[in-house]
């Protein structure tokens, strides 16, 4: 059983400081929604408002069809997994998972059954008698997830659950959470500052900045078709390159790149001569072929084996990041031509809005 969540004009202030400034969002049942954004943008606060851990200053929150603004956290049909796991340190794994069920008035046998079932799903059977301190980070996170599963919530809330894990475990747990979602078919709201987690897990990504939604969409929507320069820069790794340009006779002059000219990307409106804009081009969109080309000097080369990132600049321009695929043999100081197809590039107005 899973419910949808609806946020209507949700606001939150701490004293005079407004940290959530009117958020509207519709989350479908069984949807995996990821809140992503830079640190301090209000992701956790928004999640905690859904959980009932923070009071809602303005707007309405619905879980299923019920307005939940004033409903106690324990009655919202949600379960939450915290970044620090928040396990009870003095209880073993079994008690940690079963503790809440006791207060839900469940019979002992039934608790045992539920906990065993969750342990089976998460592969925790052999650890049931251990205390949290005798578990690895990944195992602790599994127990925390197990504690959420046994309550059969309508909505799971995750607040940066993988941030305390090392890189390898993070990938492993990410896959596990994805598997869990497809197995349980529950609604999940998941907070992270890591856009890779967002891209890989989400059905729908919500990009937040300064307490507002910048854009909502599927991972590929946001990657291919960002609404503004913030989303374009936030989604995708390494970051998109932004080049200041000026329209000149139907082409773009790169003002900081020695006045080179590149063809105009296909956009719906004509730019006036002399109009300034920002050209966005992803590192991976530099190819061997393409009508547009940039002459650059290589500054740093990062060889990852399968992928090589070249950081280059032209004169005094900002550094450009170029993904060259598996190309080897590029050295510092080399001159190279970075080509791209204008149809892959995006254009933004000086105040950061997308020109479509």
């Amino acid at each position: 059983m899973s419910a949808g969540v609806r946020l209507e004009g949700l606001r939150k202030s701490y004293g005079a400081v407004e940290v959530i400034r009117g958020v509207d969002l519709d989350i479908q049942p069984e949807e995996f929604v990821v809140f992503v954004g830079p640190s301090g943008c209000g992701k956790s606060t928004l999640l905690r408002m859904i959980a009932g851990l923070e009071e809602i200053t303005g707007g309405d929150l619905f879980i299923g069809d019920r307005r939940m603004n004033d409903v106690d956290a324990s009655r919202r049909g949600i379960a939450m997994v915290f970044q620090t796991y928040a396990l009870y340190p003095h209880m073993n794994v079994r008690d940690n998972m079963g503790f809440s069920l006791k207060y839900a008035g469940m019979k002992r046998d039934e608790i045992r059954r539920q906990v065993d079932e969750a342990a089976r799903i998460l592969g925790l059977e052999k650890l049931m008698d251990r205390r949290p301190k005798d578990l690895s980070g990944g195992q602790r996170q599994r127990v925390a997830i197990g504690r959420a599963i046994v309550r059969h919530p309508e909505v799971f809330l995750f607040d940066e659950p993988l941030s305390n894990l090392d890189a390898e475990l993070r990938v492993q747990m990410r896959i596990e959470i994805a598997r869990l979602h497809s197995e349980l078919r529950s609604t999940i709201v998941y907070v992270t500052h890591d856009q890779v987690e967002a891209m890989t897990l989400a059905d729908k990504i919500v990009v937040l900045r300064d307490g507002r939604i910048e854009q909502t969409g599927t991972p590929l929507d946001l990657y291919d078709d960002p609404d503004n320069i913030f989303v374009a820069g936030f989604i995708g790794s390494p970051k998109m390159n932004f080049l200041p340009v000026e329209a000149q006779g139907g082409a773009l002059t790169l003002t900081e790149h020695g006045g080179q000219t590149v063809p105009m990307p296909p956009v719906g409106r004509r730019l006036e001569d002399g109009e300034t804009a920002t050209l966005g081009i992803r590192p991976e969109h530099f190819r061997k072929e393409g009508e547009a080309n940039l002459e650059v000097t290589v500054e740093i080369v990062e060889n990852l084996g399968g992928e090589t990132y070249v950081y280059a600049r032209q004169g005094a321009s900002d550094i450009l990041t170029i993904a060259t695929g598996g190309v080897r043999g590029v050295r510092q100081g080399d001159r190279m031509t970075a080509r791209f197809s204008p149809s892959d590039a995006l254009l933004f107005t000086p105040d950061g809005m997308r020109i479509r």
């Binding site: 959980a51 009932g52 324990s74």
Partner: protein, 291 residues
């Protein structure tokens, strides 16, 4: 391992560094402890002592004043320590609530007694519980009976318990507060979402998590109460009719008030040592990890 010349030099330097401290500790701690153990087998008055074997220990069991002092001390211990620990816990949990206004003020107010001078506060308590004192007037104001606080054995004990509780609750509370502030807040948030009632959060989460600190403060308080001296000496002088006499006070009396009986006083001191050892062991055993 073969000692090199350098190694020997380093050893010598090391010993030279710790020697002054060791000498002082030896002179003022280890020597008196051993000497008092020897003393506890001496009988006689003043400087005039002879070896008495277990005579002093036999004397303990036949000494009505010792038995009274022991009884009083154990009563103080059994009543005051649990009350104080519970109070300190409750205060700490209340002060740890981030929504409480004026936390700093309350925290200071509750801790302040622990840093006031023993004599000053004893005199204050003495005056509050005197015949015209504040406590007497308050009781009278609410239509209560006239209580001769310091003249009745029962009430004198109550006053002493109130006094030490007043002084030491804040001290213990600080330990709990420090421990509570180290608990990850999200544990309580998880409990809240899980629908664990506040009472169960206190008894099933807070108390077990504070267990090591509770054990520590209980032992410290037990030792403190077994050595209780200043308050009784200043407020009641052990009276009325030895109703508040404690072991430490009795040791003091044996040594300085009566014709000095150093040997017997040392024996009573070792009674306190044995009590501390036994009670601490019991407390460790009760608080052991049952798994």
């Amino acid at each position: 391992m073969a000692q090199t010349r350098l190694g020997r030099n380093e050893n010598a330097a090391g010993w030279a560094f710790v020697m002054p401290a060791l000498a002082l500790i030896g002179l003022f701690m280890i020597y008196p402890i051993l000497w008092s153990l020897w003393m506890s087998f001496q009988t006689g008055r003043g400087m005039n002592t002879t070896f008495g074997g277990f005579g002093n220990i036999q004397r303990l069991f036949a000494d009505p004043i010792f038995l009274t002092a022991l009884g009083n001390t154990l009563i103080f211990l059994a009543i005051q320590v649990p009350i104080m620990i519970m109070l300190a816990l409750v205060f700490a949990v209340m002060l740890n609530n981030p929504r409480l206004k004026g936390r700093g003020l309350f925290r200071t107010a509750i801790f302040l007694p622990a840093v006031t001078s023993l004599v000053a506060y004893s005199i204050l308590f003495k005056s509050i519980f005197s015949n015209e004192g504040l406590a007497t007037q308050v009781v009278a104001f609410f239509g209560g009976p006239q209580i001769a606080w310091l003249a009745e054995p029962f009430w004198a004990k109550v006053v002493i318990i109130l006094a030490i509780t007043w002084r030491w609750t804040g001290y213990n509370m600080i330990f709990y507060l420090a421990a509570l502030q180290n608990i990850d807040r999200s544990i309580y948030e998880a409990a809240r979402i899980d629908g664990v009632p506040a009472r169960a959060q206190f008894f099933r989460i807070t108390i077990p998590m504070l267990k090591p600190v509770i054990l520590f403060t209980t032992i410290i308080s037990t030792i403190g109460t077994l050595q209780l001296f200043d308050e009784v000496q200043n407020i009641t002088q052990g009276g009325p009719s030895n109703a508040t006499l404690t072991l430490s006070q009795y040791i003091y009396n044996l040594t300085f008030r009566f014709m000095p009986s150093f040997g017997y006083a040392a024996t009573v001191s070792y009674v306190i040592v044995v009590l501390v050892a036994v009670l601490s062991t019991v407390q460790f055993w009760v608080a052991r990890d049952r798994r």
